[in-house]
């Protein structure tokens, strides 16, 4: 891009207009965002989740969530600072807040949500240096009712969108600096890059969809470097310096920041809570109040020890048995074996050599040993045979068999420590064990499927002939044996790095598990750009409905199509001009189109991947893409008008230009006025009834207000 840009200085006449526009946008933003911000005074939609999590942070109790921690920590911090004490239960949407101090949290989210608009203003300005595009693009976003609604509650989205806007702004600021020729290590450059890096880290620490903006900035950075590289006046070393500068500020620094947020997360949540069960024994040993905290047990497992076996799958339970038989018709009528997520006397097993009742003296169990497991309370042996498992019929049934520890040859199991050589000692907690049936050559596993009522809805245990089953790993958790010295569990507790990695594994598994159930109606990506259906935030007397301003959304949609057409036509024209030797001039239009191109890339990056996602999707996933889409509309409107103007005489052209701009602005503002009750609360009859306040505004059958 050419470095000759209209420079705003305090003396230029544009200066005043620019500041007026900016001030106007800021003012209106804050008015619209904070109007009735504390209504309704009950829990709206997902506030129930994030409020609850904020309470847990304040109370420091451990929990499990599929999102990274930063957003929730910020909510908790704002709550703590404004006097919320973490006692409100946040049970379900619609519950009154009464005395709970929710205001601070809501105001905090709203503030961040409001800041998105000025940031967008600055971003478009940075891209185009053109006030008309900037103003229109920002106004569209400002007047979108859906954007307003989403950014006013205790949710992660305002925080996510705020950091995302920071990142985009930073990316284009860095681009301008690069174009203007600032050195790779100049203070300004480094400062803005650090800002960009920090924003990226924050975005992805709020929700993993932040990854898309990271990709966007990555593309942008590659393009910058490519431009620098293409300048043959400059040496290659300049590009390398830029590369080094960016690697440090945009990769290493955000990476460290991301880890740091997790460190805070894991340090703050130091007490045992309802999320413990998702994590391994080593992880749990870190949590105060957990039975593994400050406990002690022998380090090695010896024959004759009473042990509990925990499945290594995330959320896996303990190997369990009880005085009940499999019902008739479900394999052999022997005692049930299940996994059970709670701690219980029935989880205890005694480990014995395969051929004797007890070993002579203290003999430690080693990898490759043949053993038997006898259930402590019922005296049955862990047993498997050629019968189908109750649910997963590919696997074999696992039962409790025998009397007082006397069974048959099918009770023999081979213990193998995963990834270790034969002969290595089995350790409490640390060793990951595969328990292979000696005769049937199958591996003890839990399928994670719930048994029906006869199995008390505990999880199925089976013996899988496929030895590569990923769920077939177990570890010894409790280990009661008097003749070996006890070691504090502190020794087994995972270090920060292990816990960091484990929380990611659990989060990814949690995310992958968010699959729509059969027949469940979920929001589909194709519905989003056309504003097909919204989402109720609050029902009853004070109805709030998350739905985009149709004028803005449908306008955006049209301009997306227009953009593709213009882009294709322009590319062909350029190619032809090049071939025929016509020189096209670089002008404002080219700069606008370039900016629109980047916005389109951003839009596509934030929208297209959802088509390939198998997880449950929601309407509000589209809002990051909406930011880009609105920018395109703003920029392209000016582009089109300027193009048309060049065909008309100066006088008519200018009149037309201003008329169209005026119409666009006033339509947007008026539509906002019309649809604003969606965000500020509706009461009375529904919109399809004639006496409703929203009568006549139900333009699509699928809208539910």
């Amino acid at each position: 891009m050419s470095a000759k840009k209209p420079k705003i200085t305090s003396t230029s006449p544009n200066y005043k207009i620019w500041w007026t526009a900016f001030a106007l946008i800021c003012g209106v933003t804050f008015l619209t965002r904070f109007y009735k911000v504390l209504e309704p005074d009950h829990i709206c939609w997902d506030e129930t989740h994030f409020g609850k999590m904020a309470s847990w942070y304040i109370n420091r109790t451990f929990f499990f969530d599929v999102h990274p921690p930063l957003g929730k920590m910020l909510i908790a911090l704002s709550g703590k600072l404004t006097g919320y004490d973490g006692t409100f239960p946040f049970e379900k949407p619609g519950d009154k807040y009464d005395d709970a101090r929710y205001e601070g949290m809501r105001m905090f989210c709203t503030t961040l949500g409001a800041l998105i608009i000025p940031l967008t203003f600055l971003t478009i300005w940075e891209m185009t240096k053109s006030l008309d595009s900037t103003f229109l693009g920002t106004l569209l976003l400002l007047c979108d009712v859906g954007f307003l609604t989403l950014n006013r509650y205790i949710l992660l989205d305002p925080i996510l969108l705020f950091f995302m806007s920071c990142s985009i702004f930073g990316a284009f600021k860095v681009r301008s600096l690069t174009d203007e020729g600032y050195g790779p290590f100049s203070t300004r450059m480094l400062a803005w890059q650090t800002f960009l890096g920090a924003s990226l880290a924050c975005t992805i620490s709020v929700k993993f969809v932040g990854l898309f903006v990271v990709l966007f900035v990555g593309l942008r950075t590659v393009a910058d470097l490519w431009n620098v590289l293409g300048d043959l006046q400059k040496p290659v070393s300049l590009t390398i310096k830029h590369l080094i500068g960016r690697s440090i500020t945009l990769i290493i620094f955000p990476g460290m920041l991301y880890v740091f947020f997790f460190w805070i997360h894991l340090t703050v949540l130091s007490k045992s809570g309802n999320g413990d069960g998702f994590y391994s024994s080593g992880f749990q040993a870190r949590l105060q109040g957990n039975s593994l905290h400050n406990a002690s047990a022998p380090k090695l497992v010896a024959y004759g020890a009473q042990i509990t076996l925990k499945n290594h799958r995330t959320g896996g339970g303990y190997l369990h048995s009880h005085h009940h038989l499999f019902p008739a018709g479900v394999g052999a009528r022997q005692q049930q074996i299940t996994t059970y997520t709670h701690k219980d006397e029935n989880n205890r097993w005694i480990i014995k050599p395969f051929d004797r009742e007890a070993a002579d003296g203290v003999v430690v169990v080693r990898s490759g040993d043949l053993v038997r497991f006898t259930h402590l309370t019922t005296g049955r042996n862990l047993h498997s045979h050629r019968e189908r498992a109750p649910i997963t019929t590919k696997c074999m049934q696992v039962t409790g068999y025998g009397e007082d520890g006397v069974g048959d040859a099918n009770d023999v199991w081979k213990i193998i420590i995963s990834g270790a050589k034969d002969g290595e000692e089995v350790q409490t907690v640390r060793s990951r064990l595969m328990i292979v049936h000696y005769l049937q050559a199958c591996v003890l596993t839990t399928t994670g499927k719930q048994l029906p009522k006869w199995g008390y809805e505990q999880q199925e245990v089976a013996c899988n002939p496929n030895l590569r089953d990923k769920n077939a790993l177990w570890n010894v958790e409790d280990n009661i044996f008097e003749d070996l010295p006890k070691v504090s569990f502190e020794a087994y507790a995972s270090g920060f790095v292990e816990r960091f990695i484990e929380s990611h594994a659990v989060m990814f598994q949690g995310n992958a598990g968010l699959k729509p159930k059969e027949g469940e109606v979920t929001s589909q990506p194709w519905q989003w750009p056309i504003n097909y259906r919204g989402q109720f935030f609050s029902g009853s007397a004070h109805r709030i409905y998350l739905l985009g301003n149709p004028v803005v959304w449908w306008g955006n949609l049209v301009f997306l199509v227009i953009f593709i057409m213009i882009y294709v036509i322009n590319s062909i024209r350029d190619k032809r001009a090049e071939a025929l030797g016509i020189h096209l001039q670089d002008g404002k239009e080219r700069r606008l189109l370039n900016a629109a191109g980047w916005c389109f890339a951003g839009w596509a990056l934030h929208y297209v991947p959802f088509w390939a996602m198998g997880r449950v999707l929601y309407f509000h996933h589209y809002f990051p893409a909406l930011v880009f889409s609105s920018m395109i509309t703003g920029i392209l409107t000016e582009y089109l008008l300027t193009s048309i103007k060049s065909y008309l005489s100066t006088e008519i052209g200018r009149t037309m230009y201003h008329c169209v701009m005026g119409v666009a602005v006033s339509t947007t503002v008026y539509s906002f006025y019309l649809f604003s009750p969606l965000a500020y609360g509706m009461s009375g009859p529904l919109a399809h009834e004639p006496n409703s306040t929203m009568a006549g505004l139900k333009w699509l059958e699928s809208w539910e207000f």
């Binding site: 290659v236 496929n466 027949g519 032809r576 059958e701």
Partner: protein
Amino acid sequence: MIIQRNSAKCKDLKNQNEVSKFSKENDWCPDPNKPLEDKMKSYDGAPQENQLEPTEKLMPSDKYAERVSLNLHLEIDLVFIGLLVLALGTRLYNLEEPRYIVFDELHYGRYVSLYTKGVFFFDAHPPLGKQLLYLAGHIAGYDGNFTFDRIGSPYTPNVPIKALRLVPAVAGSLLVAVTYQVMLEMSFHQWTAILAGLLVLFENCFLAQSRFMLLESIQILFGLCGILCTIKSTSKMGASCVIWLCVGAVSLGCCFSVKYSGLYTYYLAIFLVGRQIWQRIGSKESTLHLTLAALWRIIVLFILPLLVYVCVFYAHLIMLPKAGPHDSVMTSAFQASLQGGLASITRGQPLHVAHGSQITLRHAHGRTCWLHSHAHVYPVRYTDQRGSSHQQQVTCYSFKDVNNWWIVKRPEQPSLAVARPPDAIRHGDIVQLLHGITSRALNSHDVAAPASPQSQEVSCYIDYNVSMPAQNLWRVDIVNRDSEDATWDSIRSMVRLIHVDSGSALRFSGRQLPSWGFHQHEVVADKVITHQDTIWNVEEHRYTKAEDRRERERELVSAEMIPTAVTQLTFWEKFAELQYKMIAHAPDAPHGHMFASEPAEWPLLVRSIAYWLSPNSNAQIHLIGNLVTWYAGTISVVLYSIMLALYAVRRRRACADLPIRATQRFYDAGFVFFLGYLLHYLPYYFMDRTLFLHHYLPAYIFKILLLSYVIDHIYYILQLRERTKPLTHVFIVCVVVWLAYVVLTFNKFSVLNYGNVDLTESDLINLRWKDTWDFILHKKS
């Protein structure tokens, strides 16, 4: 400047179809580094005539076009024949062994049997491959009387195994020859082309996949042929250009009519043609000429494959006229258009639903189930403490049952007998629906439904005297009506039942009820009436017979004379429905299949697939690649990416490392092979289903082509500079040694493809080059 081919200089190149080549470098390359480039060229030791002059496609001219099309030479390429013979030898050897069902022959064999019998079946893959198998079976006289029950069960003598396996085997053999042709067409050295052909020939995974009734080899062959023809058309002018593109388009159509993954090949071809047009936009051609050139290409490339696809389905539906086990997937109308099955039940049933009609109401789209009720009530309280109406349950039940019968009644008429002439129900009429067995009326009210609380509960009304009046009036809304007073016809009419009091529509919610509802599906009244699940149709239909039975019956007989052949669906209706069902069909492949693998595991061949194990020896068949080629291929992808980045950066700094033609070739190879590889590979990362190694094969063929090119390119770079020239000999020796190793490995592993050798435990351990490969061993008894 025109360089005429010197035919004496290329006597070892028997394949060349092109008659002459034109070089216009000086015109089309306004390269600022011209002197440098010329200097480079003088070092260009490769025989000039082997290199593609990409100028023809850039500089089209009618004069040249004429000359090319007039001189049509037919030459026999001995290498081509040689490769084909070798391939046929390896692929056809002992083809009927083993005489057992191997892997997916189970499915494809089943389909062949069904084709033979003409019984309709539903499969999520398109039919061409199966039709080809059927054709072979038909010619060999297969009678369809073999039950493909499980993998590993023996064939009976009436199954012409050899014929059935012949189609994939021949396709797999041709693949070798076509690979050779593609490489030649890209105008690399003939040796490179031979190398590519040999690598495919000595590739165990292609061998294994070609020897059984599996569709991949057919799909890949069609795809590669399509690409070959497309490339040929881009380098030719005039009539031959049109012909090649047409042939290519048909071949590509066949490709994705075998398996939908063939679509990626199709996209690649579209891209190649698009690239050609794009390059021509940058030439000095007249705009009109350009537009026409683009237009006919677009038409050919879009219409022909689509035509092939539609024809294949036309044949499919013609071939399968009879009802069969998969009928219930389809709508009532579709079922009724098949012989037997539903058609035999509904034959002669009255057309118009009238007051007094007894009907079954089928949920029209999506899951097959019928509106159902039974003498059980909703529990007073659900587990989440919400209350219910405690009235009789209404569900959607997936099986035919006597409780699926409902009687249509006009609210004001007391008698249930059908009047004469029948009082037909029309669009907009208000009716009641009485449950046949319990005689209770279908009802809905402002009570939250059991599993979807945002919707209204639907029940059969029981009057408990608790000031909960009956709200049992429903308006019939015929969705596909052609006029406002259309009659409600059985099977044909798609209806919505709108609850009069609330304006909600009767809907299948998709959720299952808990055990108190016998795990049947929930039915609700939903405010959103436009949802597809609110659509129902009458399937079985009969008129209620009154007291005076004999007389009524006679009338009914005359009523049944109403034309019953209405369920003749047109081909397009059937086609559309089948397409919709195929897209909507969620594959319920078992997760965690023992031999399933992840896309990330494919480039390093982490997993193999066991296809078959002999019941009485340890002879076995696996889908496993030739590890030597496999690794080299992966390395070549990495190398190519590095070179691509390197050249791009160097060019950005205005350094030309390669002569302009070599650069051109480098990118050509990239756009066909590298892009082809990525297009066939990357999409699998986004697929949420169980994947197997054989999904990688279409990508793998492009990888082998890329590998050959990279070897060619390294050779070229080495001999480009005087300093490295001696290394070329070393390099050639390396390649030959490596190739020998490839052949040896192929030979070693071929026992796992032919399945004719009883392997001992030590043999298997010897073959188990990776810990992650699972071979099977019979237990010593």
